[in-house]
């Protein structure tokens, strides 16, 4: 391989993502899905192009993509394989947390350089067995033992936990701290004891390989991000997650609509369908536009606030509601869109494989409503709307 794509700017990055999505991720997608295995070939191809450093600022040797550009890469990859795209997106979310909240801290600046240079893959351990899906509550706590700290946690769903080079882990600040008084800690794989305690055998998104893990590590104070997790969560983790997840779902929906279009054209050529086309394809294309517009607008809004350094707005109620409802809307739209594509493709869509199959797409799409449950987000938005009046 010649020069990595990162050297050529955003347009070259996009071309690399298109090539990897279509030529590496897509051909492996059915096998990844069938065996619930890690999309190793796609991740290796992304590494080779420097794309694991996409969200690392240029000052630290990364590609320095903004959120709209990251979202564009995610949706392009997801057209080929949603699991591979989601692995890449989840990693970028962790990198964004380090890039936004680790600046000025030598340990985190060095690790950002390492992500860019060595193409490290970071997983997140924000879930925990026993907290009922609420990432803003931890049972695990950082315990002080002499000069060192100790952290043990039972993560409920640790995506690509077995393949990651490092973990960003939430925990209570100290054993006597409130469940919501959390810090975000970076653990290197080499220093972390890892025990898989369950299996990942799910309806969809099977290649994200997200079983529960028990993790344990001895930590130094420098491994703790200098900003409380509550702030990291509001300003970076939640908005970046909801936008990049939505971008992955946009990619799933885009490929499903492409397949529906192919199916309709195929019928028209054979004289089997309506000669004027299929109105359902027009409808589903409109829905797809709606989803795409939502993702683009949210990415643009985030980038503008970040560029303006407007931390007040980023952690404000209005933006939190906007991001929550983007996620809820996108997760519902992707299911509707793939469902419409299925109706258009008929039996060929329902088939597990073939050019017009949208079976994997539909199974992958249903994960969207559960990645932070929509019910939890609606309830939170409803409470925030009691205090937020500006629309």
């Amino acid at each position: 391989m010649s020069e990595p794509a990162g050297a050529g700017g955003p347009a070259a990055v996009r071309r690399a993502a298109e090539r990897i999505g279509a030529c590496v991720a897509a051909p492996a997608a059915d096998d990844v899905d069938r065996h619930a295995r890690f999309p190793a070939e796609a991740v290796e191809a992304l590494r080779a192009e420097g794309l694991l450093g996409a969200a690392v600022p240029r000052a630290f040797g990364g590609l320095g993509l903004d959120l709209r550009e990251l979202a564009d890469v995610a949706q392009v990859l997801a057209q080929g394989c949603a699991s591979a795209a989601m692995v890449w997106a989840m990693h970028q979310i962790q990198v964004a947390c380090l890039a936004c909240h680790g600046r000025g801290a030598p340990f985190f600046e060095a690790y950002l350089r390492e992500v860019a240079e060595r193409q490290r893959l970071i997983a997140s351990v924000t879930s925990e067995v026993g907290v009922g899906g609420d990432i803003r509550t931890s049972i695990a706590a950082v315990e002080q033992r002499g000069n060192a700290g100790r952290l043990e946690k039972h993560g409920a769903t640790v995506s690509y936990g077995a393949q990651a080079d490092a973990y960003l882990v939430t925990a209570r600040r100290r054993p006597e701290a409130a469940g919501s008084d959390q810090v975000f800690v970076l653990l290197r794989r080499d220093d972390t004891a890892l025990e898989q305690t369950g299996v990942w055998d799910t309806l969809g998104m099977r290649g994200t390989c997200s079983p529960p893990f028990r993790i344990a590590a001895t930590i130094a104070p420098e491994q703790i991000l200098p900003v409380p997790f509550a702030e990291i969560c509001a300003r970076t983790l939640v908005p970046v997650s909801h936008i990049l997840w939505s971008a992955c779902w946009l990619g799933i929906a885009t490929d499903a609509v492409r397949r529906a279009g192919g199916c309709v054209r195929d019928r028209a050529r054979r004289g089997a369908g309506a000669s004027g086309g299929d109105a359902r394809l027009a409808d589903v294309t409109g829905r797809l536009q709606q989803l795409r517009a939502g993702v683009h607008a949210a990415g643009g809004a985030y980038d503008a606030l970040r560029a303006a350094g407007d931390d007040g707005a980023l952690s404000g109620l209005g933006f939190a509601i906007e991001m929550n409802q983007l996620k809820v809307a996108s997760s519902e739209l992707v299911v509707q869109i793939v469902g419409q594509a299925l109706a258009i493709c008929g039996t060929a869509g329902y088939a597990a494989a073939g050019p017009y199959s949208v079976a994997r797409h539909l199974r992958d799409a249903y994960s969207a409503g559960c990645m932070i449950s929509n019910e939890r987000l609606r309830t939170a938005s409803a409470t925030m709307l009691l205090a937020h009046k500006g629309l």
């Binding site: 803003r136 701290a177 409130a178 469940g179 919501s180 008084d181 509550a230 702030e231 509001a234 007040g312 952690s315 404000g316 109620l317 209005g318 939190a320 939170a380 409470t383 925030m384 009691l386 205090a387 937020h388 009046k389 500006g390």
Partner: protein
């Protein structure tokens, strides 16, 4: 204390009473000092919104959203100051409930 003015202690007591009606802390609010960090006592952003709405009802005021920024709403004393800044003492009476 001048006639007709509501004392700071009284405002803090009412804030504490409102806190006692909401399940947003992991400790009994009567055990909290005026300067104790409510977030360290388990308050979260959504709990802060519920507290704000309940205080609006109790004091008959309307907070601007900026009141929720962590600094201002993180102690009982801070809430008292925000209430004070928001309205003259005359407004700091319980809302008449019909």
């Amino acid at each position: 204390m001048e006639e007709g003015l509501v004392s700071t202690d009284e405002i803090h007591a009412r804030v504490r009473r409102v806190l006692g009606t909401l399940d947003v802390l992991r400790v009994d609010p009567s055990a909290l000092g005026d300067g104790d960090d409510l977030y360290a006592a388990g308050l979260r952003s959504l709990g802060a919104v519920r507290l704000l709405v309940a205080l609006e009802g109790e004091f008959g005021v309307e907070f601007p959203e900026s009141a929720l920024h962590r600094g201002a709403f993180s102690t009982i004393a801070g809430i008292g100051a925000a209430l004070g800044a928001l309205a003259g003492d005359a407004a700091l009476r319980p809302v008449d409930r019909v």
